[in-house]
């Protein structure tokens, strides 16, 4: 039991020592997760809206594939990304393996279906009504798109938070394509996993606390907009 308590004490000491290596790991984690969430949003939101509001043959099949991809294990995504980026793979000449770019690619593949699935689900239900109403009021294509984004902004924010949560907390994909290289591709989750294996629990706890704090702050900031928005509509 003592080692857990000592771990927490050591963790706080480590946090407040502002260790340059810890700061670098935190910043890289944030950079990779925010970048992949951004790309995931840019791809997933328009596609989710487009697929959601349009009725087409095979929509049910598309939704099943989409929901399957939402729960795809990160380690599998990491494996496939590595196969494509490896020196002998189709994109080997780009030399992206074991770089932050490779980590961003893997995480983008991971979070895009999550963001797209949430937006798709809501656009299929409420989005269709919004489009029809907009049309009957004389809205043109461009007006309808803006209207739809504004009406679905709460959902888009939830999708964004969920996507970011999945990105910052995953370890399998970034471990495979990033390689956990010190000072280059080491992020918070791979750092925790590595130190846990080495029995350095205090360092793992410290990084775990930082990870949870960052997740809490990020989610709080994003939820502030969502919950504020939704409260407005609550009786």
């Amino acid at each position: 039991m003592d080692y857990i308590l000592n771990g927490f004490v050591e963790a706080f000491r480590l946090i407040f020592s502002f260790d340059p290596e810890i700061i670098q790991i935190v910043l890289l984690s944030l950079f990779v997760s925010f970048s992949s969430t951004l790309y995931g949003t840019l791809i997933g939101v328009p596609l989710g809206i487009l697929l959601g509001i349009n009725n087409f043959r095979g929509k049910k099949v598309v939704s099943r594939f989409l929901y399957t991809f939402m729960s795809f294990p990160p380690v599998i995504i990491g494996l496939f990304t590595a196969l494509f980026l490896a020196r002998s793979g189709p994109f080997g000449q780009l030399q992206l393996m074991y770089t932050p770019t490779a980590m961003i690619i893997a995480q983008t593949i991971l979070v895009t279906p999550v963001i797209m699935g949430i937006v798709f689900n809501n656009a299929s239900t409420s989005g269709y009504e919004v489009v029809q109403t907009g049309k009957t009021l004389g809205a043109q294509r461009w007006n309808i798109l803006i209207l739809l984004v504004l009406e679905l902004k709460g959902v888009i924010m939830i999708a964004l938070v969920t996507g970011f949560g999945r990105a910052i907390s995953e370890v399998g994909a970034v471990m495979i394509v990033g390689g956990n290289i010190r000072g280059f591709t080491r992020v918070m989750t791979t750092f925790i996993a590595m130190n846990n294996n080495m029995g350095q629990y205090s360092v793992s706890i410290a990084m775990g606390l930082i990870l949870m704090t960052i997740s809490f702050i990020t989610n709080s900031v994003l939820y502030h907009f969502i919950i504020g928005d939704h409260n407005e509509y609550r009786d």
Partner: protein, 238 residues
């Protein structure tokens, strides 16, 4: 705007929900009149209205607007509102102003029009309230004010007074009659309330199981001898 339907058929997944190919294969909804579409549930009223409003396409047949097929110019002069309106997640004022804003009307013009509508529908006190937390009557009045804000030439209403209080019904009916009388607005309304149909409509079309059984003045429908119409009228009396 005269709206004419010719041999309209609508089929969903091999089931025919509307088949206007019998005695009433051609229906005329005359300009500047208030037309009622009545009939039991599942008779095809909403389908017919959505086809006329250009929201769904018929499997067969045509709809003509002053003798012309539907185009963007005609579509932008019509509007449609249901008993479960989709109000946007913004204030009542902003909802009503929306059609004017997308038409790039001047700010003063928007303010004046919206203020008049708020007053007419007696919803000025809730103008800053979010449209997502309104009662049924308030939602209907907001939706109708929004639909009327850009002065359309044709207004399609699917049970606009279902499940709302008598005062709100009175306000809505008065607004519709005023727009029809003063601006020549053509109104096509679906209602289950026969007394309402008699109060405001100048013409009634009775649908049953996808077919039209009657289309004439409200007075003549009372004299009709069809058993389905008789049953519908007798149920409405109680």
């Amino acid at each position: 705007m005269n709206i004419e339907t010719r041999n309209i058929v609508k089929t969903y997944q091999e089931k025919t929900v509307l088949n206007l190919t019998g005695d009433y294969r051609e229906l005329l909804f005359e300009s500047e009149k208030i037309h009622g579409i009545i009939g039991p549930n599942g008779s095809g009223k909403t389908t017919l209205m959505k086809i006329m409003a250009g929201l769904i396409t018929p499997t067969a047949g045509d709809v003509l607007y002053n003798g012309q097929p539907l185009c963007q110019d005609i579509f932008s002069e019509m509007t449609y509102s249901t008993h479960t309106p989709t109000l946007f997640s913004r204030s009542v004022y902003e909802n009503i102003a929306y059609p004017l804003k997308i038409r790039k009307r001047e700010q003063n013009d928007i303010h004046q029009t919206v203020s008049q509508l708020l007053e007419e529908f007696e919803i000025t006190d809730i103008k800053n309230q979010s449209a997502r937390r309104l009662s049924g009557g308030e939602s209907q009045k907001t939706a109708l004010a929004r639909a009327l804000s850009f002065s359309p030439r044709v207004l399609f209403l699917d049970e606009p007074t279902a499940n709302i209080d008598p005062k709100s019904i009175q306000i809505i009916e008065a607004a519709l009659k005023k727009r029809n009388r003063e601006e020549g607005l053509t109104i096509i309304i679906i209602t289950h309330n026969l007394s309402q149909a008699f109060r405001i409509c100048t013409h009634l079309t009775f649908l049953d199981q996808g077919s039209c059984l009657f289309s004439d003045t409200p007075e003549k429908i009372m004299a009709a001898t069809h058993p389905t119409i008789d049953e519908f009228i007798s149920f409405n009396r109680f």
